[in-house]
Amino acid sequence: MNEINQSILTLILLVPLAGAVLVALAPDRFKLPNWIALLTALVAFGLTLHLPAHFLLGRGGFQFEVNRPWIENPVIHYHVGVDGLSLWLVVLTGLLAPIGIVASWNAIKERRKVFYSLFLVQQTAMFGVFISLDLMVYYGFWELSLVPMAILIAMYGRKDGPKAAMKFFLFTFIPSAPLLVALIWLYIQTGSFDFTTLQILIAHGSFPAGAIYWVALAFLFAFAVKVPVFPLHGWVADTFSEAPVALAMVVAGKLGLYSMLRFHIGLFPEQARAVAPWVIGLAVVGILYGACLALVQRDFWRLMAFAALSHLSLITLAIYGMTLTGWDGAVYQILNHAVVDGALFILLGALYDQYATSQINAYGGLAAKLPRTATLFVISALAMIGLPMLGGFVGEFMILSSTFSGVSKSWTVAAALGVILGAAYMLWLVQRLFYGPESQMATSKPPHDLKVGQLVVLWPLAVLMLVMGLAPSLWLASIQTGVHPPQSRIPNLSPQSVLSISSLGEAQR
């Protein structure tokens, strides 16, 4: 068992990669690429389930840790591990992969090898981001995740894929330039890319105060674009409109939000505290701005994009509220948002595949023709709105209550207003798509409701939303072990050991 625990994370990384190679080598016949990809994704998902099953709740810090030297100069270690913060994000990534593959099953008709191969590479990159504890390895996966995304958006875009892909790539790639400079600077100062070492050194070491502030800001900037945080959201709408469903499901949110928690607040708590009021302000603006723009979108992909901006800003608000409950709620809401968004994207994708338009006003009155789609859509929309008993409620409640008690009452009121607007645009979307008089398009085309393959993935998601709403402690118990402030995570640090570690840094410098 110990050996499995030792190698499980490596396996999780390698399985999708191996799958990608296999898909690339296998002939494109009999839907072979689909099956190989699905199988690999399921295996990877199964492997991720090992993590919560053997996660020791009582133990703080990282588990399933592997730390081996990789590159001598600069000192880069293959250092991976999960804690409560990343545990469920890994599982979530594992879960969404087979779902994404099933969702693309019939939608992707050409160059399936390229699609599934790159999709699996993307999967590896995302696993890598969540489990890396060496900043360089983390950066590697962070950047790697951009490439398959950009290529697949270009290849399978609906109207102008290359333009959206370019926008996505430049928006997310350019901010990582300051990030890399900041990483290099940290390395030159400390001689280490290791997360825990850096955490200790930054907490106890003496860096030039101005410089470390800028370093922290470079981290934040890169993450903020990826989340996105207002006003850095320029790429989202086009990306959501063009990206294939399986990728749109994962493009926004969790990578950036997780990175904020782990690498911005985790490494630079003081500096994060200093900028927190600004980020909170932007987050609140983002909540309202996203919600307002979602209200007036005519295209449902763009509506989803601004809805995502609004919801992700709410999570950002919770993260920079710097309260423990807020962090719990943030992680929980990341999970929930991914599940709900995933379901909604699959459903909208199904509509798009059938009617080939994303103009909302072309739809109408579909509920009678597509009862399954309508039912699942309503459930997912309600979960997104934050209806009690569904997952969204728990996360939103934790976020708003923590903001109210720990940050500011007026910000909470503004954020809650965004939640109300959220209900408005989602319900209005439901109403315009599925109810009201049947549109001409709806009458003119024979209806094809969801097929077994889609139902097989959607119903579990719907059930998951319900379970997440009813039994959040299943997740929160382990999440809570991960979001304790960094100070308390290294309690046994005697002054001597701090000294020895910082002198180690000196020596390496």
């Binding site: 590159i71 001598e72 100069n73 600069p74 050409e110 160059r111 090898k113 390229v114 950066y139 590697g140 996966f141 950047e143 790697l144 951009l146 490439v147 950009a150 290529i151 270009a154 290849m155 894929g161 290359p162 892909a165 370019m166 790539f169 430049l170 790639f173 350019i174 990582s176 330039a177 300051p178 890399l180 400079v181 290099i184 600077w185 390395y187 030159i188």
Partner: protein, 504 residues
């Protein structure tokens, strides 16, 4: 310490020369209607042998031969191996892509091999006159190769431009050498290094540095000496561009390292800010000009200017870290650039009827292999982790930050963000759907033969190795860097004529 026979110090060059002469002679003696393609294999074989010989040279003690004119050290071996590798890939590439009926195929291979001789000599030379001669050997063969497609108007134009401007620039180099001689009374690099700090006329030393830099920066196509690059790259055959955008540059960078770190370390304070400016200028000018470029080869020419800039950023680093980073970058850049030109060669064919970015549209649909490889090399050029391009940039900018040039690193990395725009334009074009009409216009699916396949495999492997396990290569680069920082101790001070009777 047993004296090493001088001939061992130039073993790779000897092998290459023999190969070149052999190719030329066989070419001349074969009946005119026989295929010349096997000659390429002969050249490739010779280059491989030279590569092994260079590696073998590692077992020699570090030192010089031929009256302290040529050095063998980890530094020279690093660049020898690199150059021979590039030449090998270029030969393999030419083997499959030169049309069967093209004239002077034998000459082509021979010229490539002769060029390799010059480049190898250049990296080993520690005597400025030998440096000049080596540079000329490599340049002249490149000039001729640039004009190899005589039937197109662009070919001869490229060759003439390259030749005239190259000669002009070499003139500056030669002038610099003369000034260095005037200031110190010697042309031996170690000696100049020893004498330069105490030279009577310091201005002369500075002028020597500046003029030599003009010549070398021209060769590496750094701004503002880059203007020739796009025209020449556009007119030259793609396999030649694959070669000349990498191998002569690698040699020139080796020379730059030698001149700056070994010959004029005392002027560090002077040339660091100078190269800071040149680096920023190169990458910015290269990237900006590439943004709107529609012709792929011109775009890659600007890209190579930008990459020269990234590489020069490493020179902001102190001592061995800067040298090692620059050496590593040379290797990484060579791997991916040779790779991308290989893809371009195969994809757009020898006659290059379809040279524009839009002509690459749907390449991944026409030929999944070529399309994927094109994207792969472009991703590496962008500098995405797990490819050589990333670690090249990473080391270069780490050296810069280590040397205190944080702004240079920031500008450089922002530049690589800017560069992503045009690399991506090409990559996304390749990934884009093509209409049926475009598919018809694009003509037959390009085929990948054995030789090209081997060349691509080498390039991909090198790019991946440099990106995933760069440790070994970096160690080799560092070993070379240490040699440059502490040159082999000179036991006999050379005074008098260089050409004295050979040692018994």
């Amino acid at each position: 310490m047993n004296p090493v026979p001088d001939i061992f110090r130039i073993l790779p060059e000897v092998i290459l020369t023999v190969t070149g002469v052999a190719v030329m002679l066989i070419d001349a003696s074969l009946p005119p209607d026989w295929a010349r393609r096997p000659l390429g294999w002969v050249a490739a074989l010779g280059t491989t042998l030279a590569l092994w010989a260079s590696l073998w040279q590692l077992s020699l003690p570090v030192g010089t031969g031929f009256y302290s004119t040529i050095e063998t050290s980890p530094f020279t071996v690093f660049f020898h191996v690199l150059i021979c590798g590039i030449v090998l890939v270029a030969l393999l590439l030419s083997l499959d892509t030169l049309p069967e009926d093209s004239h002077h195929q034998g000459e082509f291979y021979a010229l490539i091999v002769f060029g390799a001789v010059g480049m190898c000599l250049l990296t080993g030379a520690v005597e400025l006159l030998l440096v000049f001669i080596a540079l000329e050997i490599s340049s002249i063969s490149t000039y001729i190769l640039a004009g190899y497609r005589k039937d197109t108007p662009r070919g001869p134009e490229a060759a003439i431009k390259y030749f005239l401007l190259g000669s002009f620039a070499t003139g500056f180099l030669l002038y610099g050498i003369a000034l260095a001689f005037g200031a110190t009374g010697t042309t031996q690099i170690y000696e100049i290094a020893r004498l330069a700090p105490t030279a009577e006329n310091h201005g002369l030393v500075l002028a020597a540095l500046a003029l030599m830099l003009v010549g070398i920066l021209f060769k590496v196509s750094a701004a503002p000496f880059h203007v020739w690059t796009p025209d020449v790259y556009e007119g030259s055959p793609s396999p030649v561009v694959a070669l000349m955008s990498t191998a002569p540059k690698a040699a020139a960078f080796a020379l730059l390292l030698r001149v700056l770190y070994e010959m004029f370390p005392s002027l560090h304070a002077t040339w660091t800010p100078l190269l800071w400016v040149v680096a920023v200028l190169s990458m910015t000018v290269g990237n900006l000009a590439a943004l709107r470029q529609e012709n792929v080869k011109r775009m890659m020419a600007y890209s190579s200017i930008a990459h020269a800039g990234y590489l020069l950023a490493a020179f902001a680093g102190f001592g061995s870290s800067g040298i090692a980073a620059a050496s590593f970058y040379t290797a990484a850049y060579a791997a991916m650039n040779v790779g991308i030109f290989a893809v371009i060669t195969v994809a757009s064919g020898y006659d290059e009827k379809r040279p524009l970015v839009n002509d690459f549209r749907g390449l991944i649909y026409r030929s999944p292999l070529l399309g994927s490889l094109l994207i792969f090399f472009l991703v590496s050029l962008v500098g995405i982790p797990f490819t050589g391009g990333f670690f090249g940039k990473f080391y270069s900018f780490t050296a810069a930050v280590g040397g205190g040039a944080i702004w240079l690193a920031l500008i450089g990395l922002l530049n690589s963000g800017l560069a992503a725009a045009y690399y991506l334009r090409l990559a996304l074009a390749a990934a884009q759907h093509q209409t049926a009409k475009e598919a018809k216009d694009a003509g037959p699916t390009p085929q990948v033969g054995i030789a090209v396949g081997a060349a691509l495999l080498l390039a991909v492997a090198a790019t991946l190795i440099l990106g995933i396990v760069p440790g070994e290569v970096l160690r080799a680069a560092e070993a070379g860097a240490h040699v440059l920082e502490a040159p082999p101790v000179q036991t006999t001070v050379l005074v008098g004529p260089v050409l004295s009777p050979p040692a018994p």
